[in-house]
């Protein structure tokens, strides 16, 4: 069972990509890109986990020296979430422009670039 969380990350990644490939709506595509990206959170947090350890924030309940999980991957996941949110917003703005210019949001109906 010790590889199960990693396999979950791989599964989420592949399912996100599968969703992008068979997408019929550009908003659906953007959501699938977010799903794909969220697999990295699972992988990062799984890599940094340690059994019976707490969050890497010391206080009265957890004095310095108590076992904590890896804070480096948590900082990376935090970075990842912020970037993911803003990139989704940018992609959705692109979708709005595509809908305005081409009158469709179905990827298969978008053929040529138009200025």
């Amino acid at each position: 069972m010790s590889v199960f969380p990693y396999l979950v990350a791989a599964w989420v990644l592949l399912m996100g990509l599968f969703g992008v490939v068979r997408s019929r709506h550009l908003v659906h595509t953007v959501v699938c890109v977010s799903v794909t990206q969220s697999s990295t959170y699972v992988l990062l947090l799984a890599v940094g986990y340690q059994k019976k350890a707490t969050a890497p924030i010391f206080g009265q309940a957890d004095p310095p020296g108590s076992p904590v999980v890896d804070p480096v991957v948590q900082a990376m996941a935090l970075t990842d979430i912020v970037v993911s949110a803003t990139v989704s917003a940018l992609l959705l703005a692109l979708v709005i422009q595509v809908a305005k210019r081409h009158g469709t949001v179905v990827p298969d109906e978008l053929h040529a670039l138009r200025g």
Partner: protein, 249 residues
Amino acid sequence: MSTRTRLLVFAAGALGLGAALILAMLRIPDFGNDFHPYRDATVAEALHRHSPNVVSSINFDQRGFDTLGEEAILVAAVVGAATLLRRTSQPRPPRPAIASSSRPPLLAATRLAGYILLPVTLLIGADVVVHGHLTPGGGFQGGVVLATGLHLLYVAGDYRALRRVRPLVWYETGEAVGMGAVLALGAAGLAAGTGFLSNFLPKGTSGHLFSAGTVALFSCAVGIAVGSGIVVLLAQFLDEYLGADEGAR
């Protein structure tokens, strides 16, 4: 490319990627093991610099340069979205205004909850930003809480009130100020002779508000930038959706 060919190409690629991932995952250290050299190094360094929140210490001190790049991505994405959604020179035919009588009435409870939670949420957001080096939180999380808290006004059904407390110019400026403050903090480190974005201020005592050197300042700068950035971002989408007129900005 037909849907069928595309799925076949994807299946081949996914099989390859999946096999490679599984092969790699079988060989990385077991889930939940206790060998984390980076953790040991960063925790020791964070405690040395009196920042009990190790994640904040990494984000705003030990790997501050990364955070600078990340904030640049955020600013770039906000500018990009604002550019894409800006009003074109040809004004669209105005969306037929929904008469207030034809709208379903907003539940009084929703309205009340919105107005009561607004100050509470803003307070929590500010608390999360300012205490980023001590308790869970930091500039990114607190900035998002602040920005979404402001939009409780929209949930409470008062878009005009939201626009009154949201002159977009302030938030566009706020975003630039936040980004500039991070750069200024980095330059101050250079001027102090310790290096770009180094923690050059006195570290104080662990657990006090004024401790951990530049971590709290960096966190506040990021909080301002993230909060303003998200307000600007949401404003573009709200204006797009509600078809607001340009002059009222």
